[in-house]
């Protein structure tokens, strides 16, 4: 189809503001699905594809409206996938920004709107749920106008639930969103904005053709990674998979690659043909790097092989997940895993526990550090235990956080952000009632309990989103914990020098409570390098006997001792000291308010 009859767009919204419902209505109104076929949140359903023996979620659906081809591109809904979201947005020329008429602008609205603006998209603002009794469409529209500029009157008012105003949205997409502007005669180039894995057909890439034409059966190459494959099938979703002979400039669709390894095809890379290769890839490819790390250990050490298999399977569908074996004195065999962010970590952990029925111990997360040693070599450190001893300087990742709160909580939020080494950037009032605060914060200060603290200090009203802005030098030290003089790997932390004393004290106090008394005095110390900053002693036991042992029932006494022996075997040996696994967990969760 000629490019001036094509529109590519996304729907962006804060969670639960109605993105999926709007997508469903669009499919209905355009007769892409009949009412009988219509099911709630079709874009999120995998069952349809399953009927065809293939389990690929539709990432982009093609609908026809008044002689135009509209491609609705789904975006991952969460902040950790900012990079993926931005790739999806890059495949579009415009975005429908949906805001709940009762809730108004939220943190994700802000983050997504900024991303869309950064990607030069035309924003089409929509206030949804105007049918709700609590709806305040004018207030929400005013907040949007404040956020993205423009007039509140231009904001569309709809109810995705009742269908009111949907046609006007589609008309506006055609009128206000620009058509694609690629070159149809140029060597083919397509942006991979998402990918999926199917066990029968391998990696399926979701692409936006920018220039030229791709044809089924052609030899294709990913320009940044150099991966080569044959385009086994091209096509699009409408809403089910429809094979097509070709994908032309401006169109959105899928490519079945037959590749068996998701990591060989990265989101953001550019596809071209081997026959007529493009000279330059599309801009913007970057290798996404995990920023948050944590150790995953099976509670039952026999489950280690199952955890390994589960991670292998997850990895097939999640190219961003990385992992490597880790051995901890305290927790035994496990894996150190890298995640894009906190939510990604939560999702992986949940999938491992739910889909693979694993019982996991997850250590407190830490961030990636870039370390320059005294001899000038640079290393990236993912585990405090791996910190080199001779450090020149350490850089840590920083985020730009947008926090939206009712104005009465601005004070508590600033206090929290300042406590966490935050640098205030600016504040704007979205309305008389609500403000957005922009802070730069070290990611390390956010990974453990920042969100919980934020929620509890604002009685749940704050919404929060962030993106990574780069690495910066920090006054960071490695805090070691020594039990009876032995450093304990699992308890090492990288921490800002100013909080080292307090944290060291807390660790040592907690360990003194958690480690049972031994047959000798056990000193517990927190140290920076060779300097001890906190110390406690677990006093030796004075008594440990089975009081009574008479009458002939020796079996019972023997079993008691055997029970104790078993209990000991579950303990972790740190030098001569036996430390129960629970003690490590208590300490690892020191900052974790039950999350």
């Amino acid at each position: 189809m000629s490019q001036d009859r094509i529109r590519n767009f996304s729907i962006i919204a804060h969670i639960d503001h109605g993105k999926s419902t709007l997508a469903d209505r669009i499919l209905e109104v355009t007769d892409t699905v009949s009412g009988r076929e219509m099911r709630e949140q079709l874009l999120d359903s995998m069952d349809l594809e399953r009927e065809r023996g293939i389990t690929i979620k539709a990432q982009a659906v093609r609908v026809l409206w008044k002689g135009h081809q509209l491609n609705l591109i789904d975006t991952p809904g969460h902040v950790d996938f900012t990079y993926e979201v931005s790739r999806s947005l890059q495949a579009c020329e415009g975005a429908v920004l949906v805001v709940d008429a009762a809730q108004g602008v939220e943190a994700q609205t802000v983050a997504n709107a900024y991303l869309a603006i950064e990607n030069n998209l035309e924003l089409l603002a929509v206030v949804n749920k105007i049918d709700l009794p609590a709806a305040d469409p004018d207030g929400a529209a005013a907040e949007i106008a404040e956020l993205i500029g423009g007039a509140a009157e231009d904001v569309l008012r709809i109810s995705a639930k009742t269908g009111q105003g949907i046609e006007a949205v589609l008309d506006a997409v055609i009128e206000r969103i620009p058509s694609p502007a690629g070159t149809a005669e140029a060597p083919p180039r397509a942006l991979i904005f998402d990918s999926s894995y199917d066990q029968y057909r391998g990696v399926v890439a979701f692409v936006r053709a920018v220039d030229g034409t791709f044809r089924t059966g052609e030899g294709v190459q990913a320009m940044a990674q150099g991966t080569r494959f044959e385009a086994e099938e091209l096509g699009f979703f409408s809403p089910t998979m429809r094979a097509a002979e070709a994908l032309e400039a401006g169109e959105v669709g899928y490519v079945i690659t037959g590749l068996k390894d998701v990591s060989r095809l990265r989101v953001g890379d550019t596809l071209t043909t081997r026959e007529n290769p493009a000279a330059k890839p599309l801009p913007g490819y970057k290798d996404v790097k995990p920023m948050v790390f944590s150790g995953l250990f099976p509670t039952d050490s026999d489950e280690y092989p199952n955890l390994r298999d589960a991670l292998e399977k997850l990895k097939l569908n999640d190219g961003a997940l990385i992992y490597e074996p880790e051995t901890s004195q305290a927790l035994g065999f496990g894996f150190r895993c890298g995640f894009l962010g906190l939510l990604h970590m939560e999702i992986v952990r949940e999938r491992l526990e739910r889909e693979f029925d694993l019982d996991l111990l997850v250590t407190a997360p830490n961030v990636a550090y870039q370390v320059v040693t005294l001899v000038g070599s640079e290393v990236e450190v993912h585990n405090p235990a791996d910190m080199p001893p001779d450090i020149e300087r350490v850089e840590e990742p920083y985020i730009r956080a947008s926090i939206i709160v009712p104005k009465e909580y601005v004070g508590p939020v600033m206090e929290l952000a300042n406590d966490r080494r935050g640098r205030f950037d600016h504040m704007e009032y979205l309305s008389e009632e609500r403000a957005v605060l922009i802070y730069e914060l070290p990611l390390a200060e956010v990974v453990v309990d920042f969100y919980d603290q934020l929620k509890s200090r604002t009685r749940g009203y704050a919404s929060f989103d962030y993106d990574i802005v780069g690495f910066r030098e920090g006054n960071l030290v490695k805090l070691d914990v020594l039990i009876a003089g032995e450093p304990v790997d699992a308890l090492s932390l990288i921490i800002h020098r100013d909080s080292a004393y307090g944290k060291g004290r807390a660790l040592v106090d907690r360990l003194r409570e958690e480690i049972p008394r031994q047959m000798f005095d056990v000193p517990v110390q927190a140290a920076i390098g060779s300097r001890v900053i906190a110390r406690e002693t677990i006093k030796a036991k004075r008594k440990d006997v089975l009081a009574k042992c008479y009458g002939g029932d020796i079996t019972r006494k023997r079993k008691l001792l055997e029970q104790q022996k078993k209990g000991k075997k579950r303990m972790k040996q740190v030098g001569a000291v036996e430390v129960p696994q629970e003690a490590f967990l208590a300490v690892l969760n020191l900052n974790d308010n039950g999350r």
Binding site: L546, G552, K565
Partner: protein, 375 residues
């Protein structure tokens, strides 16, 4: 097989059940005393082939043996095989001059008196019937009847017991000059009514209680008693070659000898086989009335289990444990570690073998040390 020299007889009857007690006991049921003693005698007849003609020890425990109907008690004691040491457990309130005479007449030569404490308030906490005066009176009745081997049972670590109260208990016990003392720390089993009632108090006392065991050992050894087993103390033999005042019966358990136990819940260990009688009184009496052995739980003791028990029990004693043949169940690495911590000492024995002795501090931590040492 006819060589077992130690016999235990269980008399389960009690006037009431004390809150902390976890023995097999039966409250009241006066009417059952006769049939039960009849059953005991029947079981004794069944087991007699296992027993040596003359025994080293007989121990009649409970329950409260001296609460048993006097006629039935006499009938039982008279029927038991003769032995060098015959012990009967007694509660102070049951020891009248008549009871003392009965015991003596029936060949009993050692009485173990369940004192627990001399403190009236603490006696109530333990649900004990006896008052402090009953305790002393019982002791005097036994002495008047010429008993020259009396043991007192004390319990320490009672909810609300201060260290001063502990000292007072020890002094009052010492003032009576018993030949033998057993001092047990109170065990509050989780989930029992006693723990429910007193657990909080015990929690508050926990730190102070740690020192009580040490204090008991210190005070009794100062007074000249021999700390011959973790919880047991005796006067040393008289200079003129007097009796070894250790409990010879309990020593048999600790040294791994064979023994036969009769009565409900009683345990026997003979030639590597251990069995435990049903704890149910009606079943026991009914089956034995038919001349059959009572239902029993059987356990075969493998060589390693016997060796483990040997270590577990042997290390409770003050005499060196001969390590000969015990290597398979010992953790050599732990042994060296315990040695470095000065909790155990290894020595050569006259026969050229190696022995193991716990140091005084090692004995205070004996349970933990044993757990370490066993592979």
């Amino acid at each position: 097989m006819s060589g077992v020299r130690h016999l235990y007889v269980h008399l389960p009857f009690c006037a009431h059940r004390c809150g902390y007690c976890d023995f097999v006991t039966v409250v009241g049921r006066r009417g059952e005393h006769g049939p039960y003693v009849q059953a005991l005698l029947a079981e004794l007849e069944l087991e007699r082939p296992l027993l040596a003609p003359r025994l080293e020890t007989v121990f009649v425990g409970g329950g409260t043996p001296t609460f048993t109907d006097e006629h039935e008690l006499r009938r039982l004691l008279s029927a038991l095989p003769p032995a060098a040491e015959v012990t009967v457990e007694a509660n102070p309130e049951t020891v009248t001059p008549e009871m003392a005479t009965l015991l003596l007449e029936c060949g009993v030569n050692r009485v173990s008196l369940g004192v627990q404490t001399f403190d009236s308030a603490l006696l109530s906490v333990l649900d004990r019937v006896a008052r402090p005066d009953d305790v002393r009176r019982a002791f005097y009745h036994l002495r008047d009847a010429r008993f020259d081997n009396i043991s007192l049972d004390l319990i320490y670590g009672i909810p609300g017991q201060s260290s001063a109260a502990l000292d007072a208990d020890i002094e009052k016990a010492l003032a009576l000059g018993p030949e033998h003392l057993s001092c047990y720390e109170l065990e509050a089993k989780p989930g029992t009514r006693f723990t429910h009632r007193h657990g909080e108090e015990l929690g508050r006392q926990a730190e102070a209680l740690e020192g009580y065991f040490e204090r008991v050992v210190e005070r009794l050894t100062e007074a000249g008693y021999r700390w011959y087993e973790t919880a047991n103390f005796c006067r040393p033999p008289q200079a003129d070659g007097g009796l070894d005042l250790r409990s010879q019966h309990n020593l048999a358990y600790w040294l791994g000898r064979d023994y036969v136990g009769i009565g409900i819940g009683a345990v026997s260990t003979v030639s590597g086989l251990r069995w435990r009688n049903t704890p149910r009184l009606p079943v026991y009496t009914a089956v034995l009335a038919q001349g059959e052995a009572p239902p029993r739980e059987l356990e075969e003791l493998t060589g390693d289990v016997r060796r483990r028990e040997r270590v577990m029990l042997g290390l409770r004693l003050d005499e060196p444990l001969l390590l000969d043949g015990l290597a398979p169940v010992m953790d050599a690495e732990a042994l060296s570690r315990m040695e470095r911590l000065e909790l155990v000492a290894r020595n050569a024995d006259e026969g050229g073998g190696e022995t193991l002795t716990l140091t005084p501090r090692g004995r205070l931590l004996g349970g933990g040390v044993t757990v370490e040492l066993l592979a």
